[in-house]
C-alpha cells in the first residue's frame, strides 16, 4: 500500500530508492582497499584462483550486509545486485586474462559515450550521427595536450570541455531541425571534422595519425592493462552517476519534455533553445571523454578511427542497448564489442564466398539493428525488463502487459 499513502519522498531522490547507497559505496571502497593491501603485502604471490576465492568470500559477506538492511523494503535488492557487480568488476583484473580484460575496458569506453548518446537520443529525442566527431575531438585534445607534457588532470577536462563546446555548435541546427534532417546535419558536421583532422597536418599529423604515450596523473603512470582497466572503470562510473543525476533532476525532466511535446514543454517554462544545446553539450562532453580514454587505450589515433562507422556503431549501441534507461549503454557497449569478435571467429568456418565478403560486418550490424527496431524497439534492456517481469508475475503474466494503448490524437503542434 506504499504507493497509496506515501509520506516520505526522500527515498525517491536516492540512487537506490530503498536505501543502502551509503553501505554500497563504503563496501566497495573497503573491497578496493583489501585488494590493494593484498596485492602489495600478501606473503605469497597470489594466482587467479586465490583472487576468485577472495572475491567470492567478500561478495557473500557484503551481499549479506546489503540484503539485511533492505529485508523490509519492496524491490530493495537493487543495491545487492549492483554490489555483487561492483565486487566482480573490481576483481576482474586479478581473475581474467589480458584479452578479456582489454575487451571489458573497451566496453567501459563505449559505455561512456553510450550514456551520452542515451541522454541525447533517448531522453531529449535529438538524433546525432556526429558522435564520432566528438570522440575524435576528445581523443585529439587529450593526445595533443599530452604531447605538450600535461597529465590527465588537464587533458581529460580539456577534452570534455572542448567536445562540449563543439556539441553546442552542432546543437545549433537542432534548434531548427528534427529527425532525419538533424541526422544529416550532424553527419555533415562529422564529415567536416574528419576532413579537418586529415588535412591539418601540422597539428594532427594528418592521415598518418600520431602515437600517444601512457597517461599519468600527478606522476602516477597507467602503464599496464590492469591500471587502464581501473581508469576506464572509474571514469565510466562517474559518467554514469552524472547521467543518472541529470535524469532525476529538473534538467533531465526538461529533456524528456522536449522529446515528448515541445509545445507543452515551452508552456511549462522549458527554454527549448537552452535545453537542446545543453543536451548536445553534455552528450558531446561524454563522447569526448570516451574519445580521450579510447585514444589512450589504442596508443595511436588517426582520422580513420573516427569515421561515420564509429557514429553508426554508437547509434547501434544506443538503439540495441535500449534508449529508455542508462542500463542500455552497458548492454549496447557489450554488444558492439562482442559482435565483431563473434563475426571474426565464425568467419573462417563459413564458406569463403560469404566469409570473405568485404561488407560482412556492416551488413550484419545493419541486419541486427533492423531486427531490433522491428521486434524489440526497447532494446536489450527492454527485453530484460520483460523477462524480469515475466518471472516476477509468474504464472499471472499476460501477453499484452507491455502493449501500450494507442495514443490519442495530438493537436496540431503549433509549430
Amino acid at each position: 500500500m506504499r504507493f497509496l499513502f506515501k509520506t516520505g519522498y526522500a527515498q525517491d531522490t536516492r540512487l537506490f530508492p530503498f536505501g543502502g547507497t551509503g553501505r554500497f559505496w563504503a563496501g566497495l571502497a573497503l573491497y578496493a582497499a583489501i585488494l590493494v593491501a593484498l596485492a602489495h603485502y600478501a606473503p605469497v604471490a597470489l594466482n587467479a584462483t586465490h583472487w576468485l576465492a577472495v572475491a567470492i568470500v567478500y561478495a557473500v559477506v557484503f551481499g549479506a550486509v546489503l540484503l539485511r538492511q533492505n529485508a523490509d523494503g519492496e524491490g530493495g535488492h537493487a543495491a545487492f545486485w549492483y554490489g555483487l557487480l561492483g565486487v566482480g568488476a573490481l576483481s576482474a583484473p586479478f581473475v581474467l586474462d589480458l584479452y578479456f580484460l582489454s575487451q571489458i575496458t573497451f566496453v567501459y569506453v563505449y559505455a561512456i559515450a553510450g550514456v551520452g548518446l542515451i541522454l541525447l537520443l533517448g531522453m531529449c529525442g535529438q538524433i546525432s550521427l556526429g558522435h564520432a566527431a566528438f570522440m575524435a575531438c576528445g581523443a585529439y585534445t587529450a593526445g595533443l595536450l599530452q604531447a605538450q607534457g600535461f597529465d590527465l588532470l588537464v587533458t581529460l577536462p580539456a577534452a570534455i570541455l572542448l567536445s562540449a563546446a563543439l556539441g553546442v555548435v552542432i546543437g545549433l541546427p537542432a534548434l531548427r531541425m528534427t529527425g532525419i534532417y538533424l541526422a544529416f546535419a550532424t553527419y555533415a558536421f562529422a564529415f567536416i571534422v574528419e576532413e579537418v583532422l586529415a588535412r591539418w597536418d601540422g597539428l594532427t599529423g594528418g592521415n598518418m595519425g600520431f602515437v600517444l604515450s601512457d597517461p599519468s596523473i600527478l606522476g602516477y603512470t597507467f602503464d599496464s592493462e590492469q591500471k587502464m582497466y581501473y581508469l576506464a572503470m572509474a571514469l565510466f562510473v562517474l559518467t554514469l552517476l552524472a547521467g543518472l543525476n541529470i535524469r532525476r533532476s529538473s534538467t533531465g525532466r526538461a529533456f524528456m519534455a522536449i522529446r515528448d511535446s515541445e509545445t507543452a514543454a515551452e508552456a511549462m517554462g522549458v527554454n527549448l533553445a537552452v535545453y537542446k544545446t545543453t543536451a548536445f553539450a553534455i552528450s558531446a562532453g561524454m563522447a569526448g571523454l570516451a574519445g580521450a580514454v579510447y585514444a589512450h587505450l589504442l596508443f595511436f589515433i588517426s582520422p580513420e578511427g573516427f569515421t561515420i562507422f564509429l557514429s553508426i556503431n554508437l547509434l547501434v549501441l544506443a538503439v540495441i542497448g535500449g534508449l529508455a534507461s542508462m542500463h542500455g549503454a552497458v548492454f549496447g557497449a557489450a554488444f558492439i564489442v562482442v559482435l565483431p569478435q563473434l563475426i571474426s571467429l565464425t568467419k573462417d568456418s563459413l564458406p569463403p564466398v560469404v566469409g570473405q565478403l568485404p561488407g560482412l560486418e556492416s551488413g550484419i550490424f545493419g541486419l541486427v539493428i533492423i531486427l531490433f527496431v522491428i521486434f524489440e524497439p526497447m532494446g536489450i534492456h527492454g527485453r530484460w525488463m520483460k523477462i524480469k517481469t515475466y518471472f516476477q508475475l509468474f504464472p499471472l503474466y499476460k501477453r499484452g502487459t507491455f502493449k501500450r494503448q494507442k495514443s490519442y490524437m495530438v493537436s496540431e503542434k503549433n509549430r
Binding site: 504507493f3 497509496l4 541529470i246 511549462m268 503549433n414
Partner: protein, 258 residues
C-alpha cells in the same frame, strides 16, 4: 481588480482573421468562460496569451505588465498555466515526472548542480515533490503516480494535465475545453475541481468550453465569440439569451431572410 487584460487583440493567418480585435478583462478570483462555435478563435486566444502565436496587433497585460513580447517559455514563470484542447502530456514519462515538470519554472538550481545532485538539489527536489503531492491529493491521482502517461485512459490524462498546470502554482489558469472527451461522471468531477480551484486554491480560471451545463454551473462571466469577434459578454444567462449568440449557434433562417 483586473488580472488579465486583453486589448484589441488580433491575429491573421494569411487572409484568415482568426482573432479580429478582441478585448476583455478577467478579474482576480473569477471563472471566466469563452464560448463560441467551432473556429470562432477561442483556442487561438489561449495560444496568443501563452505566446505560442505572435499577435498581429493588440496588447495583452497581465497584472498590469505588458506580456505581448515575453517569450513563450517565460509565461509559466509569470503565473500563467494552461491545458491543451487535445492533451499535450509527456507520453513516455510517468505522471510524477509530468507533474514535476510543472515545477520547472520554480527551479532554483542550475544544470551544473544537477550533474552532481548535491544537498541543495536534493532539498529542492523534495520541496517540489511535496508541492506535487499536494496536487496529487487534491485531484486524487495517488493510484497513477508511477504510471506512464501512454498507459493511462483519456479521462485520467485530462486530470493529470490539469494537475500539471496546477503544479506551476499559477495565478491564472487557462483551461482549453476541460470537459471534452469526458463522460458525464468525469465532467461532474471536473466541474467540482474547477470550482475548488477558484474557491480553495484562489486561482483565477479562464476556460474555453462547449458543455453549457458546465459553463452555467461554474462561470461567473461568459464571453461569446464568432468569427474572431466578440458578439456578447456578461453573466451566463445574459449571454445565452443574447440574440447574436443564438444566431451564431443555430444560424439564421435563410428563407425568412430572403
Amino acid at each position: 481588480m483586473t488580472l488579465l487584460d486583453v486589448e484589441n487583440l488580433a491575429v491573421h493567418f494569411g487572409g484568415i482573421k482568426a482573432v479580429d480585435g478582441v478585448g476583455f478583462g478577467v478579474d482576480k478570483g473569477e471563472i471566466f468562460t469563452i464560448i463560441g462555435p467551432n473556429g470562432a478563435g477561442k483556442s487561438t486566444i489561449f495560444n496568443l496569451i501563452s505566446r505560442i502565436y505572435e499577435p498581429t496587433s493588440g496588447r495583452i497585460r497581465f497584472e498590469g505588465k505588458d506580456i505581448t513580447a515575453v517569450p513563450a517559455h517565460r509565461v509559466a514563470g509569470l503565473g500563467i498555466a494552461r491545458t491543451f484542447q487535445n492533451i499535450e502530456l509527456f507520453d513516455m514519462a510517468t505522471v510524477l515526472d509530468n507533474m514535476m515538470l510543472g515545477r520547472h519554472a520554480h527551479r532554483r538550481t542550475g544544470m551544473l548542480a544537477h550533474l552532481f545532485f548535491g544537498p541543495r538539489t536534493r532539498a529542492e527536489e523534495l520541496a517540489h515533490r511535496r508541492k506535487v503531492e499536494e496536487v496529487i491529493d487534491f485531484l486524487d491521482l495517488q493510484h497513477y503516480r508511477d504510471q506512464m502517461i501512454a498507459n493511462l485512459p483519456y479521462g485520467v490524462r485530462k486530470v493529470v494535465e490539469l494537475g500539471r498546470a496546477l503544479c506551476t502554482e499559477p495565478k491564472i489558469l487557462l483551461l482549453d475545453e476541460p470537459s471534452s472527451g469526458l463522460n458525464v461522471e468525469e465532467t461532474e468531477d471536473m466541474s467540482f475541481w474547477i470550482s475548488d480551484i477558484k474557491n480553495i486554491l484562489g486561482i483565477t480560471v479562464v476556460m474555453v468550453e462547449h458543455d453549457m451545463n458546465l459553463v452555467n454551473e461554474v462561470s461567473d462571466r461568459v464571453l461569446a465569440l464568432n468569427y474572431g469577434r466578440v458578439i456578447a459578454a456578461g453573466t451566463p444567462a445574459e449571454v445565452q439569451a443574447h440574440p447574436e449568440v443564438i444566431r451564431a449557434y443555430l444560424g439564421t433562417d435563410e428563407t425568412e431572410a430572403a
